[in-house]
């Protein structure tokens, strides 16, 4: 590093300004968590309204059009703006620590990824106040999503998701580079914790899947804003192309979501059974195989599109194959607990509750992979039940588990266990009550995305039970929020509250901004556990104590994202002055970033707190 940089004082920033300019992965994790959490509450509120409308037949809690806006925004918000960011929150908070790194490879890009996601999400949600939210479903099938059949809301979908998607894409690239390049000495690929592995594979899936949706969104934008005819059959366009582009992204997206949850569950089950993960290498290969097969099966979302017997059968059989690596994972988790000493703090309750719930979701997944039977399930409530078992029963349970598990590390505070247990049980029971009856509703002839159902079709009881269940999940979510508030005043977390096995538990909670005073030397899988078993207090350092080079905070990522946010409105309202202002802001910031030399700063050896890793 240049000599003058080491003498530059560490920039002291406080309050809001610190959060708007931070490039620290731990703070970006918290930003992702807060933003994702807020969007999660919005999406949850939409879900509550949906279920209230469906509680009784022929009800009119909300109107037909509003209902379609609610389902569209519920799906879009939950997938793109709630669970993806919370996954990124956990990845940001945990992955650099697990691999013994001081930050991600590109801290500036990390901040940019967050702000792009955030402003994309805000843009999408402002549609509620600017003429109505998108109402063509989160899948936005054409021609329904074209101008003739839907309002301006879909423009918000098209532009909001492009901006947010950019953020996700560069976030994924950042984690790929981080995990490949920033591992501590001795941390070989096959010694990486399962969560890091899952994050690595998920990032790879993001890299290949997001371009497909971007292409689709750009084409749809041309159709809607500039009179293109890619999806307009009256002018030679084709509606099925959109479905392909959407699902070439959309199916890998499912694995982008669930693989990190698999990673979380693997960490937690192993920690609380006090055993190493059973079949670690088969776990890694199963994860990679799921990621790989995930790209081969998109057309199983399109069995009723009319692709024909050969395509449907091949895609169906390929889909069934995914059951094999998934089964391997489930049995590995069970055998990890076999012979262990299992404790049940809330984190492990969610992890253990995940197993039967996700197994049900996986089972219905295999059933859906049988194309002839799928002709009955498709677009019915059976599918709604299936994907909520996977995404809520799988992913959201996994996220709750991960939050309870890593909260002490992220915030330095312990979440309350009593509230946590109530949180788990209300959410768990509410979840099954909501979604289990929906399997039967679908088979009994209830299509999905219906704003109401007529009396006399034997659909009343199932829908009523389903709505009652939502109250359980609502209470569970509120209890979690209460827990966060209680925890803020609660007791300080020790560095290693759970008798952990990986590197993040070797440093204080919350970690200092440089994470590791000295980069640790990794001697095997479960690096910290190995040291514990060898009777060592901490990790062996891999470097002498010295000055630590840190990246400078920057306001540019925020401004670049604001620029695209402004340009988005300009495009929608065909106001090219606004477009120009927005794009000049974005590209101006990019130019400034490119020409301005920013060497970062150093934390001096004397400033490094001694309470970190013992030298």
């Amino acid at each position: 590093m240049s000599a003058h940089a080491s003498h530059a004082p560490a920039p002291k920033r406080s309050g809001l300004w610190d959060w708007l300019t931070t490039v620290d992965h731990k703070k970006i994790a918290i930003l992702y968590l807060i933003a994702g959490g807020i969007f999660f509450l919005a999406g949850g509120y939409e879900a509550l309204l949906i279920r209230l409308q469906l509680m009784y037949p022929e009800a009119s809690v909300v109107g037909a059009k509003t209902f379609n806006e609610l389902i569209t925004m519920h799906g879009t918000t939950m997938i793109f703006l709630a669970v993806m960011p919370v996954i990124f929150a956990l990845m940001n908070a945990v992955v650099p620590l697990q691999i013994g790194a001081r930050d991600v490879a590109f801290p500036f890009v990390n901040a940019l990824g967050f702000w792009l996601f955030f402003f994309g999400g805000v843009l999408l949600n402002t549609s509620w106040f600017l003429g109505g939210a998108p109402d063509a479903g989160w899948t936005s099938y054409t021609t329904l999503a074209l101008n003739q059949y839907s309002g301006r809301g879909v423009d918000f979908y098209v532009l909001g998701l492009q901006i947010a998607g950019l953020g996700t894409l560069i976030g994924g690239i950042n984690f790929l580079v981080t995990i490949i390049n920033m591992r501590a000495p001795g941390m070989t690929f096959m010694r990486m914790p399962m969560f890091t592995w899952a994050s690595f594979i998920t990032s790879g899936l993001i890299l290949f899947a997001f371009p497909a949706i971007t292409v689709g969104l750009v084409l749809l934008m041309f159709d809607r804003l500039f009179g293109g005819n890619f999806f307009n059959p009256d002018a030679g366009g084709n509606v099925v192309i959109w479905e392909h582009l959407f699902w070439i992204f959309g199916h890998p997206e499912v694995y982008i979501l669930i693989l990190p949850a698999f990673g979380v569950i693997s960490e937690i089950i192993s920690t609380f059974a006090r055993k190493r993960l059973f079949g670690y290498s088969s776990m890694v290969f199963a994860t990679a195989l799921i990621g790989f097969l995930g790209f081969m099966v998109w057309a199983h979302h399109m069995f009723t599109t009319g692709l024909g017997a050969i395509a449907n059968t091949l895609f169906g059989l390929a889909t069934m194959l995914i059951a094999v690596p998934t089964g391997i994972k489930i049995f590995n988790w069970l055998l990890t607990m076999w012979g262990g000493q299992i404790r049940f703090p809330t984190a492990n309750l969610f992890a253990v509750g995940f197993i039967p719930t996700f197994t049900i979701g996986g089972m219905t997944g295999v059933m859906l992979a049988v194309p002839p039977a799928d002709y009955q399930y498709h677009d019915s409530y059976f599918v709604v039940a299936h994907f909520h078992y996977v995404i809520v029963g799988g992913l959201v349970f996994g996220l709750f588990a991960g939050l309870y598990y890593w909260w002490p590390k992220m915030f330095g505070k312990m979440l309350n266990e009593t509230i946590g247990k109530w949180n788990f049980w209300t959410f768990f029971i509410g979840f099954h009550l909501t979604f289990f009856p929906q399997h039967f509703l679908g088979l009994m002839g209830m299509p999905r995305r219906v704003f109401t159902y007529l009396k006399g079709q034997d659909l009343d009881v199932g829908n009523f039970i389903s709505t009652i269940g939502v109250f359980g999940m609502t209470i569970g979510t509120i209890l979690f929020l209460i827990n966060v508030v209680v925890a803020a005043k609660g007791k300080r977390a020790p560095a290693d509250p759970w008798d952990g096995r990986s590197l993040e538990w070797t440093i204080p909670s919350p970690p200092p901004e440089y994470n590791f005073a000295q980069t640790p030397l990794v001697r095997g899988l479960d690096a910290f556990w190995i040291e514990k078993m060898a009777g060592n207090k901490g990790m062996t350092p891999a470097e002498p104590l010295g000055d630590i080079h840190m990246p400078s905070p920057s306001f540019l990522p925020f401004l670049m994202s604001v620029g695209l946010f402004i340009a988005g409105y300009g495009f929608m309202y065909h106001n090219y002055v606004v477009v120009a202002i927005g794009l000049i802001l974005t590209f101006g910031c990019m130019f400034a970033r490119s020409v301005k030399d920013d060497p970062g700063y150093h934390i001096h050896e004397d400033e490094i707190e001694e309470k970190g890793v013992k030298a």
């Binding site: 109107g63 037909a64 379609n68 099938y141 021609t143 329904l144 059949y149 366009g237 084709n238 509606v239 059974a273 006090r274 055993k275 190493r276 059973f278 088969s282 009723t304 599109t305 009319g306 017997a309 059968t313 059951a323 094999v324 391997i328 049995f331 069970l334 607990m337 012979g339 262990g340 000493q341 299992i342 197994t359 049900i360 089972m363 219905t364 295999v366 059933m367 049988v370 194309p371 002709y375 009955q376 498709h378 677009d379 019915s380 247990k421 049980w425 099954h432 289990f436 088979l443 009994m444 002839g445 999905r448 995305r449 704003f451 007529l454 079709q457 034997d458 199932g462 039970i465 078993m533």
Partner: protein, 339 residues
Amino acid sequence: MKGWQQFWRQLSLFGLLALVLTGCGKDELSALKPSGPVASMQYDLMKLSSAIMIGVFIVVMLIFTYVLIRYRKRPGQQGVPKQVEGNHALEILWTVIPFLLLIVMAIPTVTTGFALHKEFPKEEALQVKVTAHQFWWEFEYPDLGVATAQDLVLPVGKKVQFQVTSADVMHAFWIPALGGKIDTNPGQENKIWLQADKTGIFYGKCAELCGASHALMDFKVEVMDQTAFDSWANGMKGVQSKEPVAATAPSAAQGQEIFNKSCLGCHAIAGKGGKLGPNLTNFADRERVAGILAHTPENLAEWLKDPQKVKPGNNMPNLNLDDAQVKALVEYMSTLSVK
């Protein structure tokens, strides 16, 4: 321990409750009550795949329960559990067994898959052309020279080859009790065959989000024996090859006048009229008004007064008819029968 007992009690209780209370659905609507060969083949596959899956689930749950009870941390438990790396025999076992189970499922998947995608020429099957509209269904029988809407009339025990498409957005054509669905794609034609083995009424649905009133895009399937079907088809053909008959009763005649002036541009009756809205030749014989309301004069009047209130977002404008005009129209429309 108590928490887990409670968990199991609750899980089994509400599972059972959900099953008992919801049963298998309505005969006319449920995919669990198949009334034709296609639905039966699909039902058989559902049963096979769910049986295999429930078997797997039981195995997983047995291990799960045993592990959670047996390997809980006990108070005062000392020492560190044995750190097991893995077990090749076990790992091979739970890779191979699922694979074999999948083969059991794959074989009927392939055979049924191809059986359902057969296409039957007009010598072997009744040909019906389905066109989906926001938010109604148009049915044409090209070989019989008959067109109708909303109520699909089929002969019992005979294969029906459908050619489906859409006039606007994507919909999906679904009669759960007779078989699975197929999307109606604008600009393309999809094929599906179905067969009803029971006479009576079945419920049809649109299964693809298609706009505000997607939920209300229902239709009915009336299955009759071959002679009744033939006479229905002949009756329809006879009426549709001629101009509409003049109504005799005075109020109905007044209604016909209004109809000819305000409705005929979009709705056809007999051999005359537009195709933008449902063909109303046999309106009085239909099961429902607008596909959803019970077929009563009051409901028809409600629809005529404000179509948007009944089916939001549909293409029929409010004609601003006064009560007398509505009454006359209702009178006239209840004469539109071919039975």
